[in-house]
Symmetry: D2
Amino acid sequence: MTKDELLRLTNEVLQDALEEDQYVLELILTGLKKKQYHEKNSYINAILHAEGEFKNGQFTIKIPNTPIIQNALTIVHGGITATLLDSAMGGLVHHILPPDKTVVTSEMKINYVAPGVGKELVCTTDIIHKGNKTVVTEGRVYRDDGTLIAHSTASFFIINRS
Amino acid sequence: MTKDELLRLTNEVLQDALEEDQYVLELILTGLKKKQYHEKNSYINAILHAEGEFKNGQFTIKIPNTPIIQNALTIVHGGITATLLDSAMGGLVHHILPPDKTVVTSEMKINYVAPGVGKELVCTTDIIHKGNKTVVTEGRVYRDDGTLIAHSTASFFIINRS
Amino acid sequence: MTKDELLRLTNEVLQDALEEDQYVLELILTGLKKKQYHEKNSYINAILHAEGEFKNGQFTIKIPNTPIIQNALTIVHGGITATLLDSAMGGLVHHILPPDKTVVTSEMKINYVAPGVGKELVCTTDIIHKGNKTVVTEGRVYRDDGTLIAHSTASFFIINRS
Amino acid sequence: MTKDELLRLTNEVLQDALEEDQYVLELILTGLKKKQYHEKNSYINAILHAEGEFKNGQFTIKIPNTPIIQNALTIVHGGITATLLDSAMGGLVHHILPPDKTVVTSEMKINYVAPGVGKELVCTTDIIHKGNKTVVTEGRVYRDDGTLIAHSTASFFIINRS
């Protein structure tokens, strides 16, 4: 679509927009701007408004809980919790590897223990084992009231950055 | 933000938009329209343009592979593959339960076996075990060239629909 | 202990032996003989009286359900079900690799779906993915009445046989 | 088999016994005596010479590394590591439940990160989440040199003791 067509489509969407739709569009547009300004390296991270921080050997990612990431029951979609866990555990592994190495996720297991509600989700991460070929990690996702909502372990293959 | 402010923000985003940014905005806006027309029951499914089908005891979901769901290496984000698996396995379980029951995912394990590339991803699903309190399922995600990219097993708790 | 001391200890154990104890000792002694005759390659397989068979691309292992493998509730110990699954999935992978390669289990996940009771357990196996470095497999354990008691997926690293 | 037949069979096994066979028989017979004296509640725990301890909210089990639990490569069988993890995590859960409740394992995932060698294995355990219907736990198995060999998470269903 051309830029004109996109503007027209935005107008159409706004005609019938509920307050929630407007909020979602605001989140998406501000996300896209962050991507354009290279504050985010992927659309998915931009749209999720993920904020990562590496401190004291831990890598943490926070995302606001918004209608974008909720299922039909207004609870955070388990796949988004998985996205947060995969990003945060992968981010931790990147931080402990030399710059010529990167990783791919080889497996991940998640236990969902409480519903994802509240204002934001925070994912904390730890290394379980660092080998020559693989790294095994642990991640936990908390609500802003401190309740654990999910626990995960994952394995990452170390590969050469091409 | 008001509708006027959102239109102005759309204009701003379009100023600096690369072709890819325009494509992403088009996908999001057409997704939001589907949500407004109740063709999709959540923003995440609308933005992913997920298409589900129940046939021969199997529930299948397809999503196009677009820049929205790719990580910085232009490979589908493992969390999105997880989202697809969780949605499809959960969808299958809903189809075999009476209408007064619903489910929550209690655990999910995913093996990632090949990179998510190509035009679309298809997730097929099967029941491993149907109990009184839980259902255990299996899901597989394929590329359009038929390559398996991920395998998953998951458990769902059966709960009363409130 | 010397052979004489071992005979004396056997006598002691038999003094207080219940019928079940005698049955367990019989299973162990006949297992040890199989190990001595090289019919079994490990004590654990000998004691479990595991019988493997490779047929039509599948590797299957059967074990009799005996008091040796039951927990205090006379149900098969989940760890023994795991032992059966690990042995059978690993056995399948060995069958599809060249003779100079072997494997180590890197991860295994098991869903326990019904209690392990009855006369014997049978584990069937399948390949999910065969890569250059890893193989991902699936295993299912059934009772002799056909009920599925456990489902597992596992990953194996391919290594050079030293 | 009668007690006389069992003694004769023991004699036969001892005829051809290697030193290792004698050691294995000693471990089994001393294990069976512990079972007869009700020091162990199952044959498998008796044969493994498992020693559990509950201290500071943690439940720990130690087992000696003996030829009984090793695979053909003289490394501890992954299924025995699973048995140790399942027993220890299940034991921890029993300790935090009221006496009229018990649990069954519903799922377990294990990451194997180093070979099981050395003199003994120690499994430590923690609670990840305690709910009304399920408990999610974490377990780690260490060698006597302090190396982590396996990490596990598991879910247990709480049921009424019959």
